[in-house]
Amino acid sequence: MLVPISWIKDYVDIDIPVELLAEKLTVAGLEVVHLKYIGLPQAEVPGVRMPRSDHLVWDREKLLLARIVEVKTHPNADKLVLAMVDYGGDELEQCVTGASNLFEYKGQGEINPPIWGAFAMEGARVWDGHSDKPRLMTLKGKELRGIYNKSMVCSEKELGISDEHEGVIILDHEERYVAGAPLADILGDVVFDIEFTPNLARCFSMIGVAREVAAILGVEMRYPSFEFVAGGGPIEEQVKIDIREPELNPRFTLTLLRDTEVKPSPFWMRHRLRLIGQRPRNNIVDVTNYITFELGQPLHAFDYDKLLDRAGGPPTIITRLPEAGERLETLDGLARDLGVETILVADTAGALAIGGVMGGGETEISESTRNVLLEAAAWNNISVRKTIKEQRIHTEASARFSRGVHPSQSILGSSRGIELMRQLGGGTVAAGVVDAYPLRPETVTVAVPIERINALLGMDIEIDQAVDALRRLEFETRVSDDVIHATAPDHRLDISPDPVVGRADLLEEIARMLGYDRIPETIMADEMPPQRENTSVFIEERVRDILVGLGLYEVINYRFTNRETEAMLVPDGLPSSLPDAEYVEIVNPSASERNVLRHTLMANMLETAANNARYQKTQQLFEIGKVYLQRNAVLPEESMRLGILLTGARDQPTWRIGDAGDALDFYDLKGVIESLLGALHIDDFSYERATHSSFHPGRSANLLLRRVQVGAFGEIHPQVGQRFRLTDSKVFYAELEVAPLLRYQQRLHKIEPLLTTPAILEDIALIVDADVAANEVERVIRQAGGRLLKDVTLFDIYTGDPIPPGKKSLAYSLTYQDPERTLTDKNAARARKKIVGAARRRLRAELRS
């Protein structure tokens, strides 16, 4: 909300720089996000930092309030006039101007009642009114169509108030105006832009902000008068109220102004409305807006004569829920279907307005309106919230009612509103107010011991300090036995009648008034909770470290995807291997391609790889993240997965090996997995040929821990790769469940002693059938080699001459070592003989010589 300080000063005296005030409001929870300076200089306040403002500071000697005494015809130009201006000098100054709004005074002689303008003398700095871009200029004397001119009457644009440049500023006469007064004292201002959190509904007006200012500064509030001058007959005879849903409409008040004139508002009103971003319309509508912003109580004005016509006599205002199928054309010209919970203002002839939200077109104020019926009511904030959501209407009224306006404010709004309308438009106000108030909010009194306040604040304040803080905020307080009994003022709905919650409400107010900066900083002295072991966190982080150590980069993908993208993971004609579960589906996705939560990391990982492929020759990526499997429970199963993706060149190109390095392949991925398992000290793992349809059937495997499958890995099925635009190099991918890794990792693994006995190394090459699996051969060697065979490493695979067709040669280097003694060649020879024998028997292997 835009808040001109000049307006706030109507209600509270401010004797500190506005910059400091902005800081104090911000710290007290009314965040001032911007200060707009009008004519006044920006002050440097120690300890307060503000963005430097580049506005025009009005020269107090050269920009003056001046009376426009007379407007004369320009002898040589129809589109110019001569404004004769009294700026406090010895003689009148003659300003040549084309301001359209001065033409109506042309040739009338002395203007009466007087009007006033913003006068700029020769040498004054102002904004160039004719420039599209902000440009400062200095006034210089020159001839305008034959008449010398060295000064001017200014538009709002020239002074930096607004972009208005159609006419010049014309102020209505006020007693306090003196010709030659510095303009900065009259129109100089600072406009705060304040953001309100939802709990600050009570502050959503000038008086609401002023109350906070008064409380923070510890000064008195100066409320405007809520009295009105009545001259007409009693209003009760002219209108009645029938509230049918007190829960939704706890209070409804009406006042009536007869024989008034609808016309433009005076300058001060138009100026204030424009400062806060509202467009002035006419005096009646302007007053409804003005009171909405001044008091936070929205008003609605009806053309009373139209109501008389509809009712065929004194109307009865009925607030009720809509009838089936009822519609209303609102002020914005839309015919609206009304939801069953929409509270309406109606008369006997039908709906007139949506309560607290927007009026109807038929009974609105027009230029011919003479008699005004003014509504000030209270509406249930939840009901208003539902309506504005349903109808998608946002008005200044609904903004306030949806946050909550205390019913006590209705009567203040009607009284002040009708009196202002009378002052601006004339006429006679009917005696009294029709006030239907079927549901009064309870008065809330909260008791809080000072000891509890201090215990929660962590400081030691006197009870008087706490009482003073509350009184400044207009709480009524009573103290007995070190307990404060505080009664909330009637503009507040946010103090809870629940004794414990109410205490927290008071604590917040006391703390705000004390200033959060005065609360000390302490180290918790409270009992330390029992500490637990966060195994899952430790191990998950350990997995990350291991994979980073292996040269992989961690990625974090969206957890959203869509069904079609995951369906791309299943090649044509193959069954899906994705989890058998429903999707968690978002009903209001931000984009349709992100409308479900993923079942697998695979699609996201492939997309990431495809996005990176343009810039990267090699990608080695992993992600640890959740997948969401909706089964029968209310909430989905959130299962942590590890995805690993390798693609591209194994080595970066260098000047040593050139650009022709090998591509990463299946065994690189297998190496990553085994290194990970090794580092987690998981020994009991095995592989079987994979059945996962997203992988190449011949180049993929399942990983089993303790003979239970925990994931699959291998080369991505070529068709899947193609669909994800990954065609330049083969993609190797693994997706594992994280929970089994956590379950089977060993943090208490035993460390092997370091052997000091010498080892014997020898090589052995076996010729076996080509389809014999390598791990089968190794297993036979290990079993036959027994205890002394410490290590078996495959170092060569060979086919072709002289190996017979259908056969292959596997060459192993074997390490024999005995922890206790030095082995002899004889020991090794014996072991070797056993190995060769076993290989012959079990694999039909021949020793290659």
Binding site: V27, A455, M459, A525, D526, M528, N534, S536, Y558, Q652
Partner: protein, 344 residues
């Protein structure tokens, strides 16, 4: 001296002088001093000599062996020195040639920041508590003092699922209720936890806003937890996280699940509070929302709010990472462009 010995000696020393590197040296050594070398062969001839000559000959061969051994060692030393000198002289490489790149991996920046958070909070006794991403409306809102149609629900644009009771958590705060109920043992035990995790908001994805983001929430519950503890604890965190003695400013604010509530700003560490583009010339950076746990929330977690109190705070690691590294676009985080990830 036997002529045979003398001939061999001459020949050997002559050849030794001609050796130039360690291979030739090794050859020379095996030829003359090896097991089957020339000197060894002379020893083999001893037995064929007349008895009276054997001793003298033996001595001569022994002497020859010692002499050759010594000459060998000297030569070896000499060659070693020559080679060293030569290597130092001529073995210069172009040190400006590009390095062979080593393949290094890296953690995602979000993980890095989370670890910093977790480490600092762990030192203060806050342990990690993990909770659901997909939550019940009750836990995300109602139990946190945000009943249906509460105005503050508008502060958070929520992703709803096809089950009207279920949504994507908009903040980590629902974990507060779950932690209290799980660890509080019916409201009888103190709690100190942090709740890190992914949160979701229905927004347009732009340089400034994302539909998923991580949050770290902290919660301390006890019989004697004070607002001053909240300030002290957060200030301590700020000191450790930003490694400065930057001033911390506490502003009154509003969160439905805390009261009193406050925003925490630290003096901008990029400009030392002088005002810069990042802090929008205010000198302050907003780093956390916090407050005393609302009595209703304590109650919903199983605690008696007239006896127990607590504080809670929430922070956005991505925002802090962006501030620290001058990252302009929040979409970089889940974009996973390796050109971005490799910069950490």
């Amino acid at each position: 001296m036997s002529q045979t010995v003398e001939v061999l000696r001459h020949q050997a020393l002559d050849k030794l002088d001609k050796t130039t590197d360690s291979d030739e040296l090794a050859q020379w050594r095996s030829r003359y001093l090896g097991r089957k070398g020339a000197v060894g062969a002379l020893f083999g001839t001893i037995g064929k000599l007349p008895k009276e000559e054997r001793a003298a000959f033996g001595q001569q061969v022994n002497a020859l062996q010692s002499e050759l051994q010594k000459a060998f060692e000297e030569r070896e030393q000499l060659i070693r020195e020559q080679l060293l000198a030569q290597d130092l002289e001529e073995g210069e490489i172009d040190i400006t040639l590009p390095a062979y790149p080593r393949q290094m991996g890296g953690l995602h920046p979000a993980t890095r920041t989370h670890r910093e958070f977790q480490t600092i909070w762990a030192e203060m006794g806050f342990q990690v508590y993990q909770s659901h991403d997909v939550e019940e409306d009750d836990f995300n809102f109602t139990l946190l003092n945000l009943p249906p149609h509460h105005p503050a629900r508008d502060m958070q644009d929520t992703f709803y699922t096809t089950n009207p009771r279920v949504l994507l958590r908009t903040h980590t705060s629902p974990g507060q209720i779950r932690a209290m109920r799980e660890l509080g043992e019916g409201g009888s035990k103190p709690i100190r936890v942090i709740l890190p995790g992914m949160c979701y908001r229905q927004e347009q994805v732009t340089a400034r806003s994302e539909i998923q983001f991580t949050q770290v929430e902290g919660l301390a519950i006890g019989r004697n937890i004070r607002m001053s503890d909240l300030k002290g604890t957060i200030s301590e965190f700020a000191k450790r996280m930003f490694n400065t003695n930057a001033k911390v400013r506490y502003r009154a604010s509003y969160f439905p699940f805390t009261e009193p509530s406050m925003e925490v700003d630290i003096e901008c560490f990029l400009c030392d509070g002088e005002g810069c583009r990042v802090c929008k010339y205010t000198g302050w950076l907003e780093i956390a929302g916090s407050g005393m746990v609302h009595p209703t929330v304590l109650r919903n977690g199983g605690y008696d709010p007239s006896v127990w109190s607590g504080f809670a705070f929430g922070m956005g690691p991505e925002r802090i990472t962006m501030l620290k590294h001058g990252i302009q676009d929040i979409r970089y985080f889940w974009g996973n462009d390796l050109r971005f990830l490799k910069q950490f």
